[in-house]
Amino acid sequence: MSTRALPVAIALMLTVAACTPTASMSPTASPELSPSPTPAGELRQVRLLLGFRPDVQFAPFYLAQQDGYYADAGLEVTIEHAGGGELIRLVADGQAEFGVADATDVMIARTSGIPVTYVSSLFQSFPVALIGLPGSVPTDPAELAGMTIGTPGRFGSSWHALLALLDAGGLTEDDVTIREYPQFNQVEGFLAGDVELITGFRNNEPIRLAAEGPDYATNLLTIDEVAPLPGPGVVVGDELLAGDRSLVEAFASATAAAQAAVVLEPAAGLAAAAMAVPTLWEDMDTARSVLLATIDLWEGDGALPMGAIDPDLWESGFAIMRGLGFIDGSVAPDEMYWPAIRLD
């Protein structure tokens, strides 16, 4: 009697397994690929997946959607949110047309055979850094030995950057103590004193920490000089790229234009973000500071236009990721991206 329940239990558990966490298992037929421009007056509906949750850093997308940049490009963009792993899979499978993902994640995904392509950069300067109180943050990565570091987990650009930093200092993860915060709440661990350093976006965590009080002014250890990696950007599925290149280009240009508009007039970007991020109103000052710091990272050193992909940066990043063992090099870097924003 009770063992008759066992196969049912197996079936149930594996069915539950089959349903986690990649959402929407329903096989959508590949999105209708119309290579020609949409009929006049009719907007092409597309789905954009931004990261884990709404954030002021996504201001260009909010502005582009609200102020008609996308509409002018013939697009009606629906914005949704998804976690990193799910996002890449949904975009690769064509269930969403566009997404924002880490370049290093794209390298791993493409090497695993997931058909997703990086088409434009959001940041010209790599955002992830190690953050800590002044005096705790070493200037030389080799001095990281023996420290406790908080990070969301053993995945994502924060993890890749951390390992790249350690490697640059001749260290591995065994030379430090890692505390994981899978809910992305490593700031809480830092405030509780459980960790000395945390990984984070240098346009975000330090500003939020400073808002906690003067005791939380922070220093940073950035990777740009030490281990250059490409930052987050827009990704699309291979099938869409092959079938409707002009759509991809239109989206990328509209986004870049909106990004430029935010740089010129941050208040407009802030206002657009306020419409999309429910908790923004609670602390507009911090949100503004984060947006301004983000703009700095978008522009980087100004060598490339916004949205452009830097091939040299990809080569060096590729070598680093390969050296760390995240990828085996079977897929070449230039097979991983396709520049939707021309450099000429």
Binding site: A17, T22, G156, D194
Partner: protein, 249 residues
């Protein structure tokens, strides 16, 4: 049914399930990174075991769930006895217990992890919390349903309260108690995973995250899920065996 026929039945239905899974993947044309077929998962499992990827995570989750279950069950049985015997205790404590149960532990787990300084202790606490409620309630109900006629008989022959609990109430509560243990032991596996998601660096829950978000290796994620299923089934089977041994039929 003889043991052999039972095993054959189980094997047959498991096979049918796997076949149906394969058919769904074929018909739906799902890519491997969305829904891998069972043979792909099996091959990935063999590979993961061969290069030693799976074992450390499996052992970690096993450790957390076994200790978490043991701690949670012991506290729950004691609490269940207290609640059964003391009307005051039940009146005072039940609202808190029920309210605590209604709050999803997934939300509290990160806080608990920080309070207990991370590490195995924190994970055992989270796991024990998840396991606690069904076992405590089952114990309480089981003991409350002791036949009062038997209690009167035992008292007529001089049974003291401790003897009544030990010789009468607990044995008579065993069937209901084991019902709670069956539920609790499968929750222990879930509890261990929830605890790992709150901040662990090793375990099947961590492997799920690494496979899903770090490596985009969906087959490996399914290997982790299947391992959890096997773990749950094994625990459940052990409770059944214990039930057969302890409850004379």
């Amino acid at each position: 049914m003889t043991i052999l026929r039972r095993l054959a039945f189980i094997a047959l239905s498991a096979f049918a399930f796997l076949a149906a899974w394969k058919v769904i993947v074929l018909i739906g044309g799902y890519p491997e990174y969305i829904l891998p077929a069972p043979d792909v998962v099996a091959l990935r499992a063999v590979e993961a075991i061969r290069n030693g990827t799976l074992q450390p995570h499996l052992v970690a989750t096993l450790e957390e769930s076994v200790i978490g279950f043991a701690v949670g069950a012991l506290v729950a049985v004691a609490a269940g006895i207290l609640l059964a015997k003391s009307l005051t205790a039940e009146r005072v404590l039940s609202p808190y217990l029920v309210a605590a149960q209604a709050i999803p532990i997934l939300a509290l787990a990160p806080l608990i992890d920080i309070w207990f300084g991370g590490g195995l202790t924190a994970r055992v606490v989270i796991c024990a919390l998840i396991v606690f409620f069904p076992i405590a309630i089952a114990t309480m109900v089981g003991i409350r349903s002791t036949d009062p006629l038997l209690v009167e008989m035992a008292r007529a022959y001089g049974a003291r309260p401790g003897q009544i609990t030990r010789l009468l109430e607990l044995p008579s509560a065993l069937p209901v108690l084991f019902g709670g243990l069956r539920v609790g032991v499968t929750l222990a596996v879930i509890g261990a995973v929830v605890a790992e998601w709150a901040g662990a660096s090793i375990g099947l829950g961590v492997l799920i995250n690494i496979a899903d978000q770090g490596l985009f290796d969906t087959p490996l994620m399914f290997v982790a899920l299947a391992s959890l299923a096997v773990l749950g089934l094994t625990f459940y089977g052990l409770v059944l065996v214990a039930e057969r041994l302890l409850i004379p039929r």
